[in-house]
Every structure is written in structure tokens, then in C-alpha cells.
């Protein structure tokens, strides 16, 4: 059976430099050091330079929004890929964090740099407490239930006419100056990105990944699965609340639209485009989707059509996501082998 074509297949092999730079040997040559550090440096410097490269106030604001969505997208990726909880509750986190920051700011007059960390912790605690009853659920069931939360909160505020009702809360302080706003969110993206990447490789992170893989075995190892899920939800909700808090201080307004499902859906789209499980992929996805949606604004309602086309193109042609594809090309090469 030595006939051609059908008897060949592509195989992927790690590049030698990847294998060499895995261990301590990476320190022995500049080439290997560069192989490891250049992608990270490009990412860090690139993100830090973004606000400086933008042509004007409008686009600088877009960068803030990109970063705010990036918190959400990383939080979705972390929960879905490392803990196995597919959460559609992004809008719930944003709304909760946003309203807490807004109330702290307008009622007690606290400055943004106090309300944001406070909203992060308080909001994460509130969200986690409310989500605890859903934690035994898995897969699509957890997704559906978490989708109800933002809808529920929005209708609750509307019906009871609390927190300013449909008008929302006006007169929230902005950041002291646009550069503080820009660099606060930009640096937070980097901190959270590298923090999460470190977390998922610690022993605690391994337990979270084990919960996704096989929660029965984790139970049989004497560990309370619900507690670890709650911890993961706390971390993810904290990131979502951070988005919400930054958002209200950027727009100087908090309202029911903070519970809008855009905040649940766009991060998922960004994760699909960027590559799930990479954590940096979702950031990249936001960096593509948010500006794209701004550029398409001129088309009015047709915008959604173009937007959907971009998504469909990615799902059909690069379903693994940009970062997964990029990392593979960087670390491995392909060749044909005879079978």
C-alpha cells in the first residue's frame, strides 16, 4: 500500500528552541531568552503604549472600554476553561459592581480609587452569595441560571424604583484625569492577566482545573467542591465588578443598562475569537471586537450584520481562536509524514 496522497498526514512537532527553553537552559543563550521573553515584552509594552498611540480623546476612551471588556472576557475564560463553569452572568457582575461603586461615590462621597476596590470586594461577595445556590449545577444549566440574574436585577430595580429606578444614578465622579483612567485600566489588565496565569498553575489552580475535569474525584479526595467553585466565582465576579465600577466612573452614570446582556455576550465572543483557555486570547478578542463595533457605528443598524459576519468568519475559519493558532505556530512546526 505505497500509493501516495491518502497515505500521508501532517504531524506537529515542538520546535527545538521550545524544548530547549523549557528548563533552566533557557538562561544559557540570548536566542532562547529572547524566544521566551519577546512575546511577553511585546504584549506588555504594546498594551502599555496603546493609550499613547491613540489619535484623540475619543479613541482613548475606546481603549478604556476595551480594557473594561477585557476584565470580563478574562473572567469568563477563567471560569469556563479552568473551573468548568460557563457563566452568562457577566452583566450581573458589571451591574452589581457598577451600582455599588455609584452608591458609595454619591452617598459617601468616596473617590474612585476607593470605590473601585470596595466595589470589587463587596460586589464579588454579593455575587458569590447569590450564586451559591446554583453552584451544584453544571454545563448549560449553570449558564441558563446565571443568565437570569442580570435580567432579574434590572427588572427588580425598575419595578421597585430603587437606586434611581429607570433614570439611574447621575453625577458620579470621573477619574481625576483621563491619563489616570487610561493607565489604571491598562495596568489592571496586565496585573489580572499575569495574576490569573500564575494562579491556574499553582496547586490551588490545579484543584480548580481538577474540578472541571472530574468533580467526583475531587470529592473522593476529601475536598469540598462547592467551596472551590465559590472561590473561583468570587475571583471571576470580582473581575466583573471591577469592570462595572470602572464603567460607571468612566461614563459618570450608572443605570439599568449596566445589566444589559451585551456584557454577558461580548466577552464570550471575544473569547471565541481570541482563543479560549489562553487568558491572553480574550484580551486580544476585545481589542478586535470593541474597536470594530466603534468603526461600524456609521452603518447604523447594519452594524450588527457586519459584526455577526466577523464572528461567523472566525468561528468557521479559525474556530480554535487566534491565540491558540498563534501559539501553535510559534511553538511547533508541521511536516508531512508517510504512514
Amino acid at each position: 500500500m505505497t500509493t501516495d496522497t491518502a497515505q500521508r498526514r501532517k504531524e506537529r512537532i515542538d520546535r527545538g528552541i521550545k524544548v530547549r527553553s523549557d528548563g533552566i537552559y533557557a538562561l544559557l543563550s540570548w536566542r532562547e531568552l529572547a524566544y521566551l521573553s519577546v512575546p511577553r515584552l511585546v504584549l506588555i509594552l504594546g498594551i502599555l503604549a496603546l493609550p499613547l498611540l491613540m489619535p484623540g480623546m475619543y479613541w482613548q476612551r475606546v481603549i478604556s472600554i476595551v480594557c473594561i471588556y477585557a476584565f470580563l472576557a478574562m473572567s469568563f475564560d477563567f471560569l469556563a476553561h479552568y473551573v468548568g463553569l460557563v457563566s452568562l452572568g457577566g452583566a450581573f457582575f458589571v451591574g452589581t459592581g457598577g451600582y455599588i461603586a455609584a452608591l458609595l461615590n454619591t452617598t459617601f462621597g468616596l473617590p474612585p480609587l476607593v470605590t473601585i476596590p470596595a466595589a470589587l470586594i463587596l460586589g464579588a461577595a454579593v455575587c458569590t452569595l447569590l450564586l451559591i445556590p446554583c453552584l451544584p449545577l453544571r454545563g448549560v444549566y449553570f449558564a441558563i441560571v446565571t443568565l437570569m440574574y442580570p435580567l432579574f436585577m434590572a427588572r427588580l430595580i425598575e419595578a421597585l424604583d430603587i437606586f434611581g429606578g429607570t433614570d439611574g444614578i447621575l453625577g458620579i465622579d470621573s477619574f481625576t484625569n483621563p491619563w489616570v483612567e487610561q493607565y489604571f485600566v491598562v495596568v489592571m489588565v496586565l496585573v489580572l492577566l499575569f495574576g490569573l496565569r500564575r494562579l491556574v498553575n499553582t496547586d490551588l489552580g490545579l484543584v480548580l482545573r481538577a474540578v472541571k475535569d472530574n468533580d467526583q474525584a475531587v470529592r473522593a479526595s476529601g475536598m469540598n467542591v462547592t467551596r472551590y467553585k465559590a472561590l473561583a466565582v468570587f475571583i471571576a465576579a470580582g473581575m466583573g465588578c471591577l469592570s462595572g465600577a470602572c464603567l460607571v466612573h468612566t461614563y459618570m452614570w450608572a443605570g439599568i443598562s449596566q445589566f444589559a446582556l451585551d456584557f454577558s455576550v461580548l466577552p464570550i465572543a471575544a473569547t471565541v475569537i481570541g482563543g479560549s483557555g489562553t487568558l491572553v486570547g480574550p484580551v486580544l478578542g476585545c481589542l478586535i471586537l470593541v474597536p470594530a463595533s466603534e468603526l461600524l457605528r456609521d452603518f447604523g443598524t447594519l452594524r450588527i450584520v457586519f459584526y455577526s459576519l466577523i464572528l461567523v468568519t472566525f468561528i468557521v475559519f479559525r474556530s480554535e481562536g487566534l491565540m491558540v493558532y498563534g501559539q501553535r505556530k510559534y511553538h511547533q512546526f508541521q511536516r508531512w509524514t508517510e504512514i
Binding site: 496547586d203 490545579l206 475535569d213 474525584a217 470529592r219 479526595s221
Partner: protein, 262 residues
Amino acid sequence: MTTEPILQVENVTKTFGGIIALNRVSFEVHEGEILGVIGPNGSGKTTIVNCITGFIKATSGHVRFRGKNITGKAPHKIADMGVARTFQIMRPYYSLPAYKNLVIPLFSPRARRTGGWRGGGRLGDRNTVGIDILEEIGFERDSYVPYKMTSTLPTGYLKRLELARCLALKPELILCDEVFSGLSMSEIASMVPLIERIQMDGITLIMIEHRLRELFQVATRVMVLNFGEKIMEGSPDEVMADARVREAYFGSEEVQEVMDHA
């Protein structure tokens, strides 16, 4: 035996709707023993393991571990007390390398309290302790096997990994749900000394098995289940000779035929 049994199962009944999976099953296990549990398919062997370890709740009856009532406790609490189990359908963490599988039990509250297997959990680096445990359980240390992705390991290693996960907890009692099934004869032959070594380390075992020959080599006592009822209990030789056991396995008519053949 004068000592208090390590595990007492009293009149445990489990019904699934109208099906009676376990009907008033009672037995005791003493420290250092290996209790074999055998029975035809669907006789309730795995159900009894699930009832003891809390993965399903018994309809009625009690389970006591070292005199403490553990009936209806959450699985992780029972595991925390020192009752480990393997799963018949293996449940490793497929997305992690083999040795990382053991980081999870070594991170558990019990392992951190007791130091885990051979006290290694206190040494700090759970990765090296994991590789130590894997070596003891039959993974070649200097090969690449402990570092391989779990999803690429063959069944023999996965069964060992199940046992290793139990050992990492430093348990007092291990319930093994068919650790020999799906293994080749030579693999089973190498598992038997392993089981004996675990027993010598002072760990009590309950072994559910279909491989009677190997089970009877290691078991100190054997209990036979059929249709959710305990039909007898005794030494391996007594069980082999018992007519009810033969009937349960072969059906009443074929018994004579099989015996003639032997």
C-alpha cells in the same frame, strides 16, 4: 477479634424507585483486613461502595466508621475522615500530566493535616511527592511515564493512578471498586504484591472484584452479594466450596455440569 471494627455496615437498604439495589446488608471490617466483595453483575457491589462513601444516600440503615456514624455525610467529609475509594470507571484528571493528578489529593485538608502519604505532604513540593507516590505504585521514575498526559496513559497505569490518588490522602480504609478489571494477566500479577504492600502499611481494604483467583490470593475474608442481598461471608476457601455461591454465579442447573468439568 476483640478490637472494635473499623467499619460497621448495619442493615443498609437502597432502593432506586421500585428496584431494591441493596436489601438490609450488614457486615463489619476489622483493622488490617482485606475484605473481598464478590457477586454477579447488578448484585449491588458498587452501590454498597457508594453508600459507604456518601456518593449516594442509603434509604435506610447505618454506616459507622471507627464507631462514628457517617451515614448521610457528604462524600468529602467521609474522605476527610480517612475513607478513600477508587472508581470502577476510572476518574483521573485527563487534562493534567499523571504526577499532577496527585497534587490534588495532596492539597486536600486531610493530607495537609496528616502529612499525606509517608508524611511527604509536609515537605512542601507536592510535585515531587506525587512522583514518589507514583514510583511506589509502579510508574517508572526515570522514564517519561509520570510526566505523560493522563489521557494518553493505558488502562493499567490509570488503575494504578486511581490507587495512588487514594494513597496520597493517607487513608485508613480504601474501597477498591474493581481495580483488576480490564488488566492483562501479567498486569494483575504485578498488582497483587502492591495490594499486599498497602495492607502491610496498616491500611484496611475492601475489594470489589470479578477476578476471583487473584482476589482469593489476597483477601482475608470474602462476602458474597446476590440481587442486593448478602448470601454468605467467610474465608476464601469456604466461599469457594459454598453451593449458594456457585448457584448465584452459574445458575442451579449448570452447577453440576461445571463441577463435573472440574
